[in-house]
């Protein structure tokens, strides 16, 4: 295996000859011209997913290589460079960056909601997370490791994952996109279809939690309604918690009692949610671990009170 000579970059990514008459007529000069002044970008471009457009040799000039994103280069060449004579992403407004990338990347399931996503509405667009020419990771041209990208803005989420019990994101077992779609997710199929806005769904439109926690998917004949109607976050903090089962409270009985208080018009009967019966003496530690008896709290096929 011959080592590369640092003085001469590999002759990789040679662009097929493009039809000069048509390209020059519209100001396109071809990627080989760009290479003359930008050898550092060109040297590794054969590892870039966008190199496919060059390798195919069949794409029209406006969808091939450098000019597919940066626009016609003729003016830029004649001006001997400069950001004013070319589409320079560092100078573009966020919505222009989005439009530019979506010319090719719009029509996919995962990006179907990008126009209404929280990221887009807050000016977080493609180049905030993707580095087209200097990506240090081998997939998706991310500008950093995914966890570092997300934590870069979501410092509060980093704090939640710093708690003792959490999903194993920091350990590398999971990544944020296992549950979230940074390009925007469709309206959730749980709660009121309003929030959360960036939580991705399993292919069959369920909460992403059920992709791994399949045993809690059901269907159960006796569903614990909040699980199906309001979602797992009713009782759990998925990012991190002081409780080993990621519950929203350190102990379980206060969590249960906050709903099971019999008050108001809550519950599916509009008559309050069942309160505990007289044989539950809450002063006795025996009754403070609700799930010791109500083991199948996510749903049961045998018992309406989730005892088995």
């Amino acid at each position: 295996m011959a080592a590369q000579d640092p003085a001469s970059p590999p002759q990789a990514g040679t662009a097929p000859t493009q039809a000069p008459s048509s390209t020059h007529a519209s100001g396109f000069v071809g990627s080989n011209v760009c290479r003359t002044c930008h050898p550092d970008v060109w040297a590794n471009f054969y590892k870039n997913p966008h190199f496919k457009s060059i390798a195919s040799g069949k794409e029209p000039a406006e969808r091939t290589g450098c000019e597919s994103c940066h626009g016609p280069g003729q003016t830029h060449v004649q001006a001997r460079g400069g950001k004013a004579s070319i589409v320079a992403f560092s100078e573009l407004a966020p919505e222009k960056i989005l439009d530019n990338c979506l010319r090719c990347h719009a029509e996919t399931v995962s990006r179907a909601n990008i126009r209404r996503s929280e990221h887009t509405l807050n000016d977080v667009v493609c180049t905030n997370c993707h580095s087209i020419h200097k990506s240090p990771v081998p997939k998706f041209l991310l500008a950093k490791r995914q966890i570092d990208l997300c934590y870069g803005c979501h410092n509060d989420v980093r704090a939640q994952f710093s708690m003792t019990f959490k999903h194993r994101v920091n350990e590398g077992f999971m990544v944020c996109t296992d549950c979230h779609n940074p390009h925007g997710a469709p309206a959730p199929t749980w709660r009121m279809a309003a929030r959360p806005r960036m939580t991705d769904q399993a292919v069959s439109n369920e909460e992403p939690c059920l992709k791994c926690h399949t045993e809690k998917r059901g269907p159960f004949l006796y569903e614990h309604e909040p699980v199906r109607v309001e979602g797992c976050e009713t009782c759990h903090y998925p990012h991190g918690s002081t409780n080993s089962r990621l519950l929203r409270r350190p102990v379980v009985f206060t969590l249960c009692l906050e709903c099971h208080n019999g008050a108001g018009s809550f519950g599916r009967h509009n008559a309050g949610i069942l309160t505990v019966t007289p044989d539950h003496n809450l002063a006795d530690p025996r009754y403070q671990n609700c799930t010791t008896c109500h083991v199948r709290i996510h749903g049961s096929n045998a018992d309406a009170l989730f005892m088995r």
Binding site: A2, A3, P6, A12, G13, N44, Y46, K52, S56, A93, E107, N113, L121, N122, D123, C153, N155, R158, T164, N170, E171, F173, P186, A187, T189, A193, S204, N205, E215, R217, G218, P219, L221, P226, V229, E230, T234, S244, V251, T254, L257, E258, N261, A263, R268, H269, I273, T275, T277, P278, H280, N281, L282, A283, R286, T291, T292, C293, N301, A302
Partner: protein, 664 residues
Amino acid sequence: MMARHFQFAAVLFAATCWAQQTIAPTTEPVGATRGDNLSDYNIVDSFETGYRFSTVGGSADQYHSTVNFGDGIRLLSSFLTINSKDGHGKYFDELVLTTQGLGNDPYESATLRIQKNRLYRFDMNWRLNDYFNPGLRTGGQLGQHLLDTQYTTQDDDLTLFPQSNVKFFLGYSRGDQNGPALSTVQLFSSQGNEFPIFENVRRLRNEYRIGNEIRLFGIRFNWTRGWEDFKEDSNYSSGLNLGNNLQSPVTLTSFARTEPIHGTSPYWRGSLFGERKHFAVNGRITYTSGQRAFALNENAVGTAAIGFMAAQQILTEGNASRPVTSGNLTLSLFPTSKLTITNQTTVNNIRIDGDSVYAVFNNATETLNYLAFEFLGIRTIANETTLNYQLKRWLSFFGGYQYSDRQIRSNEASTFDGNVFASPSEQSNILHEGQFGLRLKPAKALSILLDGSIGRANGPLTPISERNYQVLGGRVQYKIKPFLLMASTRENYNVNSITLSSYASHSRTHSVNGSWNPRDWFSLDAGYTKLHLNSAGGIDFFALGQFLTGQQSIYISNLHVGTLTARFDLKKRADLFVGYSHTQDTGDGRAAAVGPGIGSSLPVFQAAQTFPVKYLSPMARLSIRITEKIRWNVGYQYYGYNELFLNGEDYRAHTGYTSMLWSF
């Protein structure tokens, strides 16, 4: 030369991205690596192998459930890429293989991507989690729901003709969980006893997918057909068992339960997309017909409350079905280059139905009861419109409105002791939510974001559901090389009050973080976040023979999290990374678990109102270049966990590793 340096740096950075994550992680590149050419391919490879160690004092269970690194030799990470240089490789144009933690780390993974331009792309992702959970033991609870299982998951996706107008998709996913666990069962009567029992967890999920995408007349249509299959045959057992309540005469002599479950969730999904200069439209519809067949056979023999021998058998068998139909239709308009209007309509319909026969035979009562079952349906329709407008180059805003209508219907139709009971009910909730936001960019380096939303619902399902809520947030970022500073704040209030009870939840998050990279050889990152939560919910309950009403469940948390990391590149020979993470919940400020306080007069509620805890972790990693291809690494991380009120779960752990990294 510059290109060469960039290539080395990029590839090496990628290689170290898969270096061990928790113990002294560094995202910065260490040393040089090489990319070698073979024929028309360029190959980059690295692997890091070494020895991990850990010593734990205090609660080993708590350590295993939160950190879980052990001792032994590991392939800590590896990285391989092969790229064709002209995009016309014989069999493939790109191959990427990464691994992490192989050889018995609790978090192992491997990913593979292999593709040939225009012909195929294959992605594989395999993960293993050695999962230990001590059960509910925080705050002195009994636990007993311990899990010591191994969870593996794998996803394989093959795309044929990925760049053409006609693509085909094939996919397979698998997940399985196996291992010992503890569970509990309550037996013989409501005044009986609770018994810890052994559980052997055996769960398996398989999913198969096939799909196709066609682009015709500028519209892309995508369909997927999938079959998900779930099996569980965990079994439960116990021998002589006195139960949790030692004062109770109810005991267990033997217990066995088998409970095979087989579920299938076949589904269809269809999507279409189209984007033109002034509009875009996309939609999708999904139909899933989930079903589960189940059977349960439980035999328990013991002593009942009145001292007689009790023998109880429970048999259950039946089927449950849950067809789910979901659809979205999104229309986006771009009347000008500065204005985007998006409207999305969502429909979601779930129906849970089925049949079940539940039979109990008890030798004490000599009764045989049958119970058949209920129906639950949920239907939600929502419509959301969002407007996003750039007024000036430095000023933009967005606004939106959402209307949601949810209806829940249920019918607890059952037959018990020959009597038929039916209790149909219906509940509905309508939500109006408005959102707004402002984006300012007064200078190139400075950006300011303000946003908020207000929601009003008229019939939330539970007392803690969102009823009258508001969210306000702001973010300021100042970024100018070599400096980045970001500050953000967010408050989330929800008030759900009624006549007899009230629930209010206030959470506030304040965060600031920054990084400073003044030199190539030095960088500094720091962050601080405060998460505040206080909630108060009205509760009614029985205690000491009294029904106590108008009580409150209060929870107050003040979580402070600080992180500090620094990296030094010492004359290109060594890379030193040091960091510190401090997580502390100061609770409501009290020093003792019980005592006069706010909320309930019962000590058990006082102790549950807050949970002060401290979790800190300093770390360091040193990487030294031995030769151009070989580096020696050593890392250390300390974990200290301390609960203020009870210390049974506290632990201290010293963990570390030493390794060799070989790259070419």
